[in-house]
């Protein structure tokens, strides 16, 4: 979330699309209700199903699953052609005035630079024109046909209400009604928020779904403002924190790009990531990358990371290929992996195409499961009849199952969706012989380190040198670790020389041995250590700020600045400089957030800006971008700098109506598809119905099926269809049905409801089959088929989040 849960109270309109907060995030949804009751905020829900969020909305519009970009692209067209944008905001806080390269183009499904063999783009024709000084060229009048504003207008002019309706199945009048409501929010004193979740991410165009919405929020002038922002509602209590710790291959802690083969040495690596400003006077905060990275290496390797050995740069593994979870399982399936550690994760159920998962796991030499519960993955080798039809004697994988603590038995911090770290204490010890995850990892590492010390082996140096300063090496305490994450001075951190008195001894900003107050104190000379720069300051000399419990909200804007600690720098709304106009005055005086007071930026929150950078200096609010403004045109995206509609890989239409004559651009042309998976995609002729997975309010993933009370309220697997399809297929409510995709099947009771209705897509009726995901062959609920027996093994082109929300099935009475 760019904003926070309690900030939702400040909004004038809530759009829920790609999520279902009332059922999936009920206690957060209360802030929507609060805004509706106390601010007369409007709630608009756009969803394939008439969810409980829709049931309490002021307006609901149906949309075919997998067509959100068509819908939102149509919204952009509406805003631009009806002049419903916040002009002053767009001019100072976005790249609308920037000029694009002359050879940038879009034609019939492809942007310029497409390579069909590689399924990827040469992006050299994308992006801004630069002048002689390396700064972006701009046209303040926004009349130049090459400026982003004009190019945006041209690109989305194709998304007419008629075409949007033909693709999405949303009736044209319903679509326009949503557009009108959104258009109202372009007034400077109106703010809208968007709440989304997996309904947007779990698509082969997931990143672009969210980007399209972010562009709308920029055009409306809603980013960085109370009641606004783009708000991802995440799915585990600490999924945000683990994302920030960057437990994935692409990045190191704090979203620092991980080194790859072409980063041949530290200098090359740092240079590529130390981004210089693309416009005059911009902060371009990644200029500090070397400070953050060096401090991380000091946290990892302590005294063994020195200027002489390039701060142990060589010991950091260099990535040569994709290693996201789909890529890992593809490698495993090809027999290229020997071992796998799996902590609090149930991939047999959670990664698409169960059959492929099962075959992949069976090729491992060893599998280590660490979980509080008996997961399906830990028993993938056991026969559970049709639910898991395997032959144990043929599976040679050695499987270890280690008992771990659950949340109630672990002390430490969780980071919520709103980026707030909150400390908790363990209430009891883990049951039986179970141990906390950190202790298991520590003991395993100590065992390995001892083996390397005794017997040697390949590259034993980093194993011996990894900084392990914990009082009890087998049981690092969470406070020791959080202090390491927050960072400390290893030598005195000195202020730069005073220009008025250059000979005076430099002032000591942080004394050696002290915790740093924040990332501004980090240095690239090895004098500071910090495990995650984004979290720096969460445990300062003032102590553990994540444990603060001051429930006061001095401004009444829902800013609980002394409750826990929000990254970065305890900031509750990101980009909050943009809550003010070019002179630093708030766009809306009744929701004054951060403003220029004549000598500094100040207000309800920690300013997202150099505190004394006067407005006339023109320092942009989007300090992480070298251009200082937010991007309507983003070259970082794999499938194009402007989001474009592509059908799901399994499409019930079979054609992309945005470019009907280009069969190669039906689905995302830049998405990665493995051999074998392509063949496993189903066609609409055999599998005519659109399907989506979803979650129920009584269950959490594959977790609460082990909990008796949850099992009582939602005991048995089912699938959901609309009345019309039920009638066509002669299926009665409660009857058993078999749902098949090209990869597998699910047999369950059928719930026939009014919540699902067919769409009229280009004159043809398209039906939806809803598949709740929560069942499996372990737990105290009734057993059921894993829903991922049905789902396709393909992910988003940028981040590889699997396409669980749009695929094809057939359904019949079982």
């Amino acid at each position: 979330m760019t904003n926070s849960w309690t900030d939702i109270r400040n909004t004038d309109m809530v759009l829920i699309m790609g999520g279902n907060a009332a059922e999936a995030h009920p206690c957060g949804f209360k802030w929507v209700v609060e805004a509706m009751q106390h601010r007369k905020a409007k709630l608009v829900v756009v969803d394939p199903r008439f969810t409980r969020s829709a049931a309490v909305a002021d307006y609901y519009a149906p949309v075919r699953n997998g067509t959100d970009i068509a819908f939102l692209g149509g919204v952009i067209n509406y805003l631009l052609s009806n002049d419903k944008i916040h002009h002053d905001y767009v001019k100072i806080h976005t790249d609308a005035t920037f000029l694009l390269k002359e050879n940038f183009a879009y034609d019939n499904g492809f942007f310029s630079g497409y390579n069909a063999d590689k399924r990827s783009y040469d992006k050299s024709s994308w992006g801004y024109q630069l002048d002689h000084d390396g700064y972006v060229k701009a046209d303040a009048s926004m009349q130049d046909p090459l400026c982003v504003y004009q190019q945006l207008k041209k690109h989305y002019s194709r998304y007419t209400p008629d075409l949007v309706s033909r693709i999405t199945g949303t009736p044209k009048d319903a679509f326009l009604k949503v557009c009108e409501a959104i258009g109202e929010m372009s007034k400077p004193d109106k703010v809208m928020t968007i709440m989304y979740a997996l309904g947007w991410t779990q698509h082969s165009v997931g990143s672009q779904n969210i980007r399209t919405m972010a562009m709308i929020q920029l055009l409306l002038g809603n980013m960085g403002r109370p009641g606004g922002g783009v708000n991802a509602l995440r799915g585990h209590a600490n999924v945000q924190g683990i994302t920030d710790m960057c437990a994935y291959s692409e990045v190191l802690s704090g979203y620092m790009g991980a080194p790859v083969d072409t980063d041949v040495d530290r200098a090359t690596y740092l240079k590529a990531r130390t981004l210089k400003p693309l416009r005059p006077n911009q902060m371009s905060y990644w200029q500090n990358f070397p400070k953050f990275h060096t401090s991380l290496m000091k946290a990892y390797y302590g005294n063994a990371a020195t200027a002489e050995n390039d701060f142990a740069y060589d010991w950091l593994p260099k990535k040569d290929a994709a290693y996201d979870v789909l890529a890992i399982f593809e490698r495993m399936h090809q027999g290229k992996m020997n071992g796998f550690l799996c902590q609090g994760f149930n991939p047999l159920a959670a990664v698409p195409n169960k059959k492929k998962m099962s075959a992949a796991l069976a090729k491992l030499k060893y599998l280590v499961m660490m979980d509080p519960l008996e997961t399906e993955t830990s028993e993938f080798w056991k026969n559970f009849g049709p639910l898991n039809d395997v032959k144990p004697d043929e599976i040679k994988t050695e499987v270890f199952r280690l008992p771990t603590s659950c949340f109630a038995e672990e002390t430490g911090s969780f980071t919520n969706s709103g980026r707030t770290l909150q400390w908790k204490e363990h209430a009891v010890e883990p049951p039986g012989e179970a141990k906390v995850d950190s202790e298991i990892i520590a003991r395993l590492f100590m065992t390995l380190r001892a083996m390397y010390a005794k017997d040697g082996g390949t590259l034993p140096e980093p194993v011996a040198a990894l900084n392990w300063p914990y009082i009890n090496a087998n049981v690092p305490s969470p406070s020791e670790v959080l202090r390491e994450i927050s960072g400390k001075a290893l030598a005195d951190v000195l202020a730069p020389p005073d220009p008025k008195d250059p000979k005076a001894p430099p002032k000591v900003l942080v004394k050696a041995g002290e915790q740093v107050p924040g990332f501004a104190m980090l240095r690239d000379d090895g004098s500071t250590s910090c495990g995650n720069w984004l979290y720096s300051g969460c445990w300062s000399q003032a102590g553990n700020l994540t444990a603060r419990r001051d429930p006061s909200d001095p401004t009444g804007l829902g800013v609980y600045g002394n409750w826990g600690y929000s990254w970065p720098a305890n900031r509750r709304i990101l980009y909050n400089r943009a809550s003010a106009d070019k002179d630093g005055k708030p766009w809306d005086a009744s929701r004054k957030y951060i403003a220029w007071n004549g000598s500094a930026w100040a207000g309800a929150d920690v300013p997202d800006m150099a505190p004394t950078a006067a407005p006339e200096q023109g320092v942009g609010a989007f300090i992480m971008n070298p251009e200082g403004v937010a991007r309507l045109h983003a070259i970082g995206m794999a499938e194009g700098p402007f989001p474009e509609h592509y059908e799901p890989f399994e499409t019930p239409v079979g054609v992309n109506l945005m470019c009907p004559s280009n069969p190669k651009a039906v689905s995302n042309p830049a998405a990665r598809v493995y051999k074998g998976d392509l063949e496993a995609f189903g066609k609409k002729e055999e599998f005519p119905y659109a399907a989506t997975t979803y979650r129920l309010t009584e269950h959490q993933h594959f977790w609460t099926k082990h909990s008796r009370s949850n099992a009582i309220v939602q005991p048995a697997p089912f699938v959901e269809i609309g009345e019309e399809l039920a009638k066509e297929k002669g299926i009665q409510h409660g009857q058993k049905v078999r749902v098949r995709s090209n990869r597998g099947e699910v047999v369950a009771a059928c719930v026939v409801t009014k919540r699902i209705k067919p769409w009229d897509v280009d004159g043809k009726k398209v039906h939806l089959v809803g598949i709740p995901i929560h069942w499996g062959f372990k737990g105290v609920t009734q057993n059921g088929y894993l829903a991922n027996s049905l789902t396709p093994f393909v992910g988003d082109a940028n981040c590889q989040t699997p396409e669980f929300k749009a695929f094809l099935v057939n359904i019949e009475k079982a």
Binding site: H236, N238, Q240, I242, P317, D320, N338, E398, A408, G432
Partner: protein
């Protein structure tokens, strides 16, 4: 009598029907004289965070059992933290049932191994489990860690053993898992967050 707010609610919950009875002259002291104690009266309160979605509601865990050597404390009740600014004392149907997840019969309680080709679990000690796992990891790392690529660039990567890191564990556990994984040279690293 000295009472804080939560204590008052506990007492009033035991015998009185809210403040109107207090206003009529029924003192909380009378309730304390009842023979049956309110079940939370002797519990320890611990603040926690709901493990399910990322609203991350504040929770209070009520634990019974003192710290004596032979006593194993158990959580007997969980409720929303009324001081928490986001959930303000409420919990949803998932969170309200969390006690049954903590006490689930399906909790793994001891280290186990399933030998190749076997159809059952075998209980093992932590020592045996960690030693056997470390031996597997070391053998794989020693055999397959790539020190340099074909251009001679030092890459020091180990990509034949993977690690999926928990999104349900604390930041501190997650940080340590990543530190160890990177320290060993692992690149096949991911987390539930991607899904």
């Amino acid at each position: 009598m000295d009472m804080n707010r939560r204590h008052f609610f506990r007492v009033s919950g035991a015998g009185l029907v809210g403040s109107s009875l207090v206003a009529l002259g029924f003192s909380p002291t009378a309730a304390l004289a009842e023979t049956r104690n309110f079940k939370l009266a002797r519990t320890t309160e611990t603040r926690s965070t709901c493990p399910y979605c990322s609203v991350s509601c504040g929770m209070i865990m009520y634990t019974l059992g003192d710290k004596a050597k032979n006593v194993k404390p158990t959580i007997v009740h969980v409720e929303g933290d009324p001081d928490h600014p986001v959930n303000r004392g409420t919990l949803c149907p998932k969170g309200a049932g969390v006690l049954d997840m903590i006490h689930s019969a399906d909790r793994v309680k001891v280290p186990q191994v399933r030998e190749p080709g076997s159809s059952e679990w075998k209980r093992i000690s932590w020592d045996e489990a960690l030693t056997r796992i470390a031996k597997h990891m070391k053998a794989d790392r020693d055999a397959n860690l790539v020190k340099a690529n074909d251009k001679g660039v030092t890459v020091n990567r180990w990509n034949t053993t993977g690690f999926l890191v928990s999104s349900a564990a604390s930041n501190e556990s997650g940080y340590l898992s990543v530190k160890v994984a990177r320290g060993l040279g692992m690149v096949a690293l991911d987390t539930q967050a991607r899904i």
